[in-house]
């Protein structure tokens, strides 16, 4: 029986069993159960103050767990010595590293600490590892600059290099991408993925960027309230409506499928009818949202690229089943709605031979002398667009 348990623990590189975390003896999250295989990435997501940092601080032993155990390769983490742990686990925390009078290279070099001797003298190998780590995060060009004088984004990359230098098996990162611009966000996460694949590094991190969390993570741990809110693969977690519930989103919309976010839809009776489809209408929807004009979005198959934005922003969406002909009554319905609107905007001039429904709608509007405009790209120049309307 006991052997079985041990074997089960071994199967996972990292395992939290009944872990309760909190500050000053007051539990914040109780009895967490999660596990991770070697070489995988676990991301903690959840609203501000849900306890992501608290969980990470407990794992890095900055906080005592209030109950339960963390196992690393089947070994109780509390039984591993602090110096033994420093060769297994490296951290990038939100807490600023103090680097007065230190160059970036000096900071990276501190990662070699667990491997140097009594006085911390570096061998040639240590220098080589430091250089390789800096090269990996593209920080070689700032190696001689003072750590206090570089940007937050550069600092974050230097901190990653430092952690890599420590040659850990487990890497803990607390909101590592917060200060990075989009290029370095992608690059940072790509480096993590590469380390996982090539060196079998296991990563536990917290992220605010849900769209990135959905893409980089092998497992997600959702935190909200006293218990774990959800734990699973991105496919399991990012199902429609889940994120809105997890974060209590009331204004606006998060699309789990593509990670897109839309602001709150203008409410009320539609004043504009938008004929869309094929991705040409999303920008028009957003323009109308900015102007606060409620609108109806016209006939879209549910798999159309315009559909997520329409669903999030339109007061009414006239949608059909993909790959099926548009039902006659939906078409009539669309025509009736068009007549009650002040304006009709068609985002397309050519409908192709198979989209009879929208072609019909445009023709109907023309025939009935409805105020019809053709608008494909309002991004072309909003000024011009407004003048013609």
């Amino acid at each position: 029986m006991k052997e079985d348990q041990t074997r089960e623990r071994r199967a996972f590189f990292f395992r939290a069993q009944g872990l309760t975390v909190g500050y000053h003896g007051r539990p914040l999250i109780r009895e967490m159960e999660f596990a991770l295989e070697k070489g995988k990435i676990l991301t903690l997501i959840g609203p501000n103050g849900a306890g992501k940092s608290t969980v990470l601080k407990t794992i890095v032993r900055q906080l005592e767990p209030l109950g339960g155990t963390v196992f690393l390769e089947g070994k109780d983490l509390t039984e591993v010595s602090q110096s033994g742990l420093s060769r297994i686990m490296a951290v990038v925390l939100t807490e600023r590293l103090r680097g007065e009078w230190m160059t970036c290279e000096d900071v990276v070099a501190t990662g070699r600490y667990p491997y140097t001797g009594r006085f911390g003298i570096f061998s040639e190998q240590d220098y080589r590892i430091v250089e390789e780590a800096m090269e990996l995060v593209h920080a070689l060009d700032i190696r001689d600059q003072s750590f206090c004088r570089i940007s937050d984004g550069q600092r974050q990359r230097v901190m990653l290099a430092r952690a890599i230098c420590q040659e850990p098996e487990l890497l803990i990162l607390d909101e590592p991408t917060s200060y990075l611009d989009v290029r370095y966000k992608l690059e940072f996460l790509s480096i993590l993925q590469r380390l996982c694949r090539e060196k079998g590094l296991t990563v536990i991190l917290s992220l605010h960027e849900l769209e990135l969390a959905a893409k980089v993570s092998d497992r997600l741990l959702c935190l909200k309230g006293e218990r774990v809110y959800g734990y699973g693969t991105p496919e399991e977690i990012f199902c429609p409506g889940y994120i809105a519930k997890l974060f209590g989103i009331e204004t606006g919309n998060f699309d789990e499928e593509n990670g897109g976010m839309e602001l709150e839809a203008p409410r009320g009776k539609p004043k504009v009818f938008v004929i869309g489809g094929g991705g040409r209408a999303s920008a028009v929807y957003r323009y109308l949202q900015r102007e606060g004009i409620p609108f109806a979005a016209g006939i879209l198959p549910r798999n159309d690229v315009d559909y997520p934005a329409a669903r999030a922003l339109a007061a009414e969406v006239l949608a059909t089943e993909p790959y099926e002909p548009v039902p006659e009554e939906l078409l009539r319905d669309a025509e009736r709605r068009m007549e009650t609107c002040e304006r009709v905007i068609s985002c397309r001039e050519h409908f192709g031979s198979l989209d009879r429904a929208n072609a019909g709608l445009a023709a109907y509007a023309q025939e009935k002398k409805l105020p019809l405009e053709y608008r494909a790209k309002p991004a072309d120049g909003e000024e011009q667009w407004r003048r013609s309307s």
Binding site: R98, T110, R143
Partner: protein, 340 residues
């Protein structure tokens, strides 16, 4: 870059060592009885013609210079430890009130024991100073948990210093006239009147303590990154902190017991050394702060003796003149960095 830094470090160390040696020679040669450097050797070995000069050299100037060197080094190192401990560039034994605490304890012991006609030996003085230093340190530690700001910590330290000085004054009013003279000279801070026995004891204590500090170079290098990163690197924070407090306490106590409170050396020297070496690596800064402190104190003691000779200035007068501007400079720099 690596090479350039190595050259800079070695160059700076050589410069400091040479400086200490030169000033040592100056301290031995200069004074009311002037000696040429060439006369030094014969004076020391007693082979010279002038026996009186030999006496002055061997019994007065030499122990005094060595004491300034050893205690100056101790001051630099104590300042370095305290600055690292509090992660505060203007910490130092004098500014944080630790010297004043030690002074108070020594005054208490001196007045009460001398009043009972008991001869006070050096070891008792050091122990008393250590107890006083730890008392002040305890208060500062308690306060540092409540106040996070660097300036507030320093202000609290200065206040503790004032309280201790007030208590010392209070005790002095109850002392005999002879004691007061004794105490007054000492409490102004001076390297005068050192015997070879004093030098032997202080060298033993300071060198052993400094060796222990040097033994901590590696954990200190991790500690200065911040608690979270240090403990992730495997540093036992609790024992390291205890060691830093005790060692800086011993160093401060030793200085106060022998030379009285000496201001600003502890704050200024570590900062000057960081600038000179362009790094915060403890493996370089620990020896640098020791040498820098020695240099600073030898220089100040020389000026204290020579400027208004034959009247002698107190050593703190000189250290304040050269040290205080450095502290002001640090604060201005910090302010600018925060603004920019």
């Amino acid at each position: 870059m690596r090479q350039r830094r190595a050259v800079r470090a070695i160059g700076s160390l050589i410069f400091l060592t040479m400086g200490v040696l030169c000033l040592l020679v100056c301290n031995l040669c200069m004074g009311s009885v002037k000696l040429a450097p060439s006369e030094l050797w014969s004076g020391l070995t007693g082979g010279g013609t002038d026996a009186a000069a030999g006496m002055i050299l061997w019994e007065i100037r030499f122990p005094r210079a060595i004491a300034a060197m050893i205690l100056g080094g101790a001051l630099g190192l104590a300042g370095y430890l305290l600055q690292t401990f509090f992660r505060n560039p203007i910490a130092g034994p004098f500014i944080l009130g630790i010297s004043s605490g030690a002074k108070m304890a020594v005054a208490v012991v001196m007045v009460f024991l001398l009043g009972r006609a008991v001869r006070v030996n050096a070891l008792t003085m050091i122990l008393a100073a250590f107890a006083g230093a730890m008392l002040s340190m305890g208060f500062v530690l308690l306060l540092s948990r409540r106040v996070r700001s660097m300036a507030m910590l320093v202000v609290s330290g200065v206040m503790i210093g004032y309280i201790c000085s007030a208590v010392t004054e209070f005790i002095v009013t109850f002392a005999n006239d002879a004691d007061i003279v004794n105490l007054h000279n000492w409490s102004r801070g001076s390297f005068s009147g050192m015997t070879w026995e004093d030098v032997a004891v202080m060298s033993g204590i300071v060198l052993i303590t400094s060796g222990a500090v040097f033994g901590m170079v590696k954990p200190l290098s991790a500690y200065q990154l911040g608690d979270a990163y240090a403990s992730n690197l495997g540093v036992d924070l609790r024992s390291l902190r205890t060691a830093m407090v005790v060692l800086s306490g011993i160093l401060s106590a030793c200085i106060v017991a022998y030379a009285g409170p000496i201001s600003f050396v502890g704050v200024a020297v570590p900062h000057l050394m960081r600038g000179m070496f362009g790094t915060s690596r403890p493996i370089l800064l620990i020896p640098a702060c020791f040498l820098g402190g020695s240099l600073f104190c030898l220089f100040c003691d020389l000026l204290a003796r020579m400027l208004l000779a034959p009247t002698e200035l107190s050593i703190s007068t000189m250290t304040a003149v050269f040290g205080a501007p450095v502290v002001i400079w640090i604060m201005a720099r910090r302010g600018r960095e925060r603004a920019g």
